[in-house]
Symmetry: C2
Subunit: 334 residues, 2 copies
């Protein structure tokens, strides 16, 4: 596949995901003709490096997208809602990491290992799914193809980087404060996250589920093109800097042995089987940090339902859960 160099913009370039997007474009040697970096006014003039050259961060404006062919957005829903359509009208294909367009029936919601064929249906905007959903569907889709998933009960162990650089800073600041007998300051999270677990990510919907949890329900169905799959989620923030872990209980339509599931995961795109419990080998958040793969282990039979498995799924939420997935979508566009 020859890739013609493109004019690429990154919107929200100085954030945790934006920074990773720029690095991922470089690491994967994405053919960039011109790179433009946009961020909020207080990052204006900041310099970022790409392929050995310094780029100056520009403030985002309505005329920012002239000549841009691919625009990677990670600057929050409000900015995506305002500037996404502007970029699309200017001729760019927008790959948007916010939740703004994900459930829009006219917008493809893409995980390249699962539904790459939907990319071609875009009308200027493609949505990048939520981090906790991406790693779950990368691991479960190959199993679903073999044995059809009926129901998923998932509890997450999500790192603070899911809240962006401010989440990383807050855990860091709180730990330092506690270890130097200063008082703990809370801004990014509703309660102290250091040495604590918070069963709240995003705001609550009237049914008692958080938006983060509802994303796992709705996005999973859309990406896997399986509206019949039932998902019962609990999303929890834990004091980990990088990578989300997930305890996933799956009930299938037909029998799938742990051995066969392991074999399928071993050969599945984007997955790496890490599953040797007697030797304490299983996926770990620390090991997944900075890696591209979705790591799957502790695959074992759940004998409490007819065709059940339990799995432990771990991935770097900023990489595969955000930046890498977006760049992979851009690669499909090529």
């Amino acid at each position: 596949m020859t890739m013609e160099p493109k004019n690429v913009a990154v919107v929200g370039a100085t954030g945790a995901v934006g920074t990773e997007m720029v690095q991922t474009l470089e690491q994967r040697n994405f053919p960039v003709k011109n790179l433009r970096l946009f961020a909020s006014p207080n990052s204006e003039g900041k310099r970022m490096s790409f392929k050995g050259r310094d780029y100056v961060v520009e403030p985002l404006g309505e005329d920012s997208f002239e000549g841009v062919e691919i625009a990677l957005f990670s600057a929050g829903s409000e900015r995506s809602k305002k500037y996404g359509p502007i970029a699309a009208r200017a001729g760019a294909v927008v790959i948007d990491n916010s939740s703004a367009f994900r459930m829009d029936p006219g917008v493809p919601l893409v995980v390249p290992e699962v539904n790459p064929h939907t990319v071609k249906n875009h009308k200027g905007i493609i949505a990048n799914p939520n981090c906790s959903t991406i790693q779950m569907v990368v691991a479960l889709y190959p199993l679903h193809k073999r044995a059809r998933i009926k129901r998923i009960v998932v509890s997450t162990y999500q790192s603070v980087s899911g809240a962006g650089q401010k989440g990383i800073n807050e855990l860091n600041d709180q730990v330092r404060a506690l270890y130097s007998f200063h008082s703990v300051v809370k801004k990014a999270f509703p309660h102290q996250i250091a040495f604590n677990c918070l069963p709240q990510i995003d705001v609550f919907a009237p049914d008692g589920y958080t938006n983060e949890e509802l994303k796992m329900v709705n996005e999973t169905r859309k990406i896997m093109e399986a509206p019949e799959i039932l998902v019962s989620p609990t999303a929890v923030r834990v004091p980990v800097f990088h990578s989300h872990s997930e305890s996933v209980n799956v009930e299938f339509e037909s029998d799938l042995s742990p051995e066969e599931a392991k074999k399928i995961i071993s050969g599945a795109p984007g997955c790496m089987l890490v599953d040797d419990p007697p030797n304490s080998v299983y996926p770990l958040a620390l090991d997944a940090a900075g890696r591209d793969e979705v790591f799957v282990g502790r695959i074992r039979r759940d004998a409490t339902v007819k065709h059940g498995l339990n799995l432990w799924i771990v991935s770097d939420n900023i990489r595969k859960g955000a930046a890498l997935n977006a760049v992979q979508i851009a690669e499909i566009l090529q």
Copy 2:
């Protein structure tokens, strides 16, 4: 109820649970005639305070239990297996916090809020359940009485104090090492626990579940006297010092609305409802530390099964999960 003062021994008195046992006896004003504190030889001669008086820690021996009426054991399974029967033969009632006797059909496994009537069946030894099981059954038993539980899928977020003082020290040491650019030392846990999640507590059984997970299956059934209840567990160690959190998905025989479940929990012994999500009010490990109650919140309908609820259950694993529960059993004996 008049309580006649008893001769009490604490075996493993210098450990995390043993220390808490001594404090709990004092805080609850348990009628102690004589107190004897036993620990391993390297704690010999150490002094511990009880009701304003200093007690010298003694080495444990076969003749340690003469005149002892209640012996609280928390010194590991091997010591319980050896010295528990010796203490019972010497006339003491042993309340044992290890897993040594829990599944012995002749030994009551007691959570005072659930099955206090089984205490009287003891033949010298009463078992204190595993911490992660205790908090789950305290919260679920009142719901089970109302609507009968069919199946539980539970994922835990367990603090390092569950591994005793060495677990607490290890998280503390690792965080300090990381923040002072020293290398991290692993002893208590198979991998770095600081800023990581470990899907392994205790060793693995051949079916791929850990002993910690199997305890949640078997002990839940025995305590609730409901061998038909299905439990699908995943036990995870998280970088939290105190209190275990649990994400619990329950399928009932008959309908139980979240509203009714909240009302039941509000009035249930040992439980405290903490459930106002729109105001970010739900149980938290940090808030539960040092408290007696089992805190329950995020009670919401799971519409993916016929009669389903999701709950978030948090309790101090060293208190209600170990020391307090043992002292409560001793109070029933009075």
